[in-house]
């Protein structure tokens, strides 16, 4: 079945989820995966959707016009076959906290360090906190380590980065207890 990624973003207010999902429900769509959150003052939704009767986005994109009229931006992406399936990933999960006085490039340099070493970021949140005089940047991420990479090695890499960026970084393993 053809799957689509639907992204919706707009000024937060009560009723956005209801309005979006009513359209999906009326149109016969299934929501496979979704994640929504407030970023700044914007409510943002990302959903993986499908409908057994629909193969192309032209067939349903008009259904979201009422959302646009309500100041929500809608973006639809047609997934390639199998694009809705999360690949099986081997390796240990870890949690990395990065925080420090705000400066340009924190996210990029941490992400580059991880990406270059084939560490896969699976979840990432960043937020600017503190006040105008002392802005503090907080970055929290979860990442999947390559099978042969030990957490101590990651800690060493992050230690070097910590010196270079002058931020605090901590790494810990994230154990999922399968019970």
């Amino acid at each position: 079945m053809q799957h689509f990624a639907l992204t919706i973003i707009g000024r937060d207010r009560p009723g956005i989820v209801s309005q979006v999902t009513e359209i999906l429900f009326q149109g016969g769509f299934n929501i496979a995966d979704s994640s929504s959150s407030i970023l700044g003052g914007q409510f943002s939704m990302i959903l993986i959707i499908s409908n057994p009767k629909i193969a192309t986005q032209e067939e349903f994109s008009d259904a979201f016009k009422p959302l646009e009229e309500n100041n929500l931006s809608v973006f639809i992406r047609t997934l390639k076959p199998g694009g809705e399936i999360r690949p099986e990933q081997e390796g240990d999960l870890c949690m990395i906290s990065v925080y420090g006085a705000d400066k340009p490039g924190i996210v990029f340099q941490v992400a580059k360090e991880l990406g270059d070493r084939n560490i896969n970021i699976t979840d990432l949140n960043t937020k600017l906190v503190g006040d105008k005089q002392n802005p503090v940047y907080v970055m929290m991420l979860e990442a999947m380590l390559p099978v042969d990479t030990e957490i101590e090695v990651v800690e060493n890499w992050m230690e070097a980065l910590k010196q270079r960026l002058q931020v605090d970084i901590s790494v810990r393993s994230l154990v999922v207890m399968e019970l």
Binding site: S37, D123, N125, K127, V138, M140, E142, L174, V175, V176, M177, E178, L179
Partner: protein
């Protein structure tokens, strides 16, 4: 040896409150053995509760000694528990749990850090043990099953919870 099929939600038996085992008969002994066999057969599992194999009776087994994480901590090895009850709880810790009966989903759950649990063991002896860490979490998770609770009922935070507080 009887390896049973592990029930998966939405099987309604996973939401039932289990009945105490009043007489420690052959059926109860068999149930404990089935639980152990099924837990061992499930490879990665460190515990299983009776309702997960369709028996609505208050019994569960836990053994963290074979798991990567449990091995590193002090533990009681194989625990076979009949009518288990947590009589003391202390502290709290957040752990990410998964469950054989709810495949492909994990969530952050708040559990007590250390517990005292009493139960009848496989020899019908009353045991009272104090435990903490992974073993304590496993016991709390399995005992929840006896009251129809899944870890889904205990999820305490979404991953982004950290950023939700104190919005200015």
């Amino acid at each position: 040896m009887a390896v049973k099929q592990v029930l998966v939600y939405p099987d309604s038996r996973l939401k039932e409150i289990c009945a105490p085992i009043v007489s420690f008969d052959e059926a109860a002994e068999q149930l404990l053995q089935d639980l152990v066999d099924t837990m061992v057969d499930a490879g990665h599992s460190v515990g299983i509760a009776a309702p997960q194999i369709g028996a609505l009776r208050r019994a569960a087994v836990v053994d963290v000694s074979k798991s990567k994480l449990g091995k590193k901590q002090e533990n009681h090895g194989l625990l076979q528990m009949v009518n288990p009850e947590i009589i003391e709880k202390e502290g709290s810790q957040v752990v990410r749990e998964g469950c054989m009966s709810v495949p492909e989903y994990t969530g952050n759950v708040t559990r007590s850090e250390s517990i005292v649990v009493q139960f009848l063991d496989q020899n019908q002896q009353r045991q009272i043990i104090r435990t903490e860490g992974f073993e304590a979490i496993a016991i709390q998770h399995e005992l929840d099953h006896l009251d129809g609770f899944l870890f889904l009922d205990r999820v305490s935070s979404l991953k982004t919870d950290l950023f939700r507080r104190k919005q200015k």
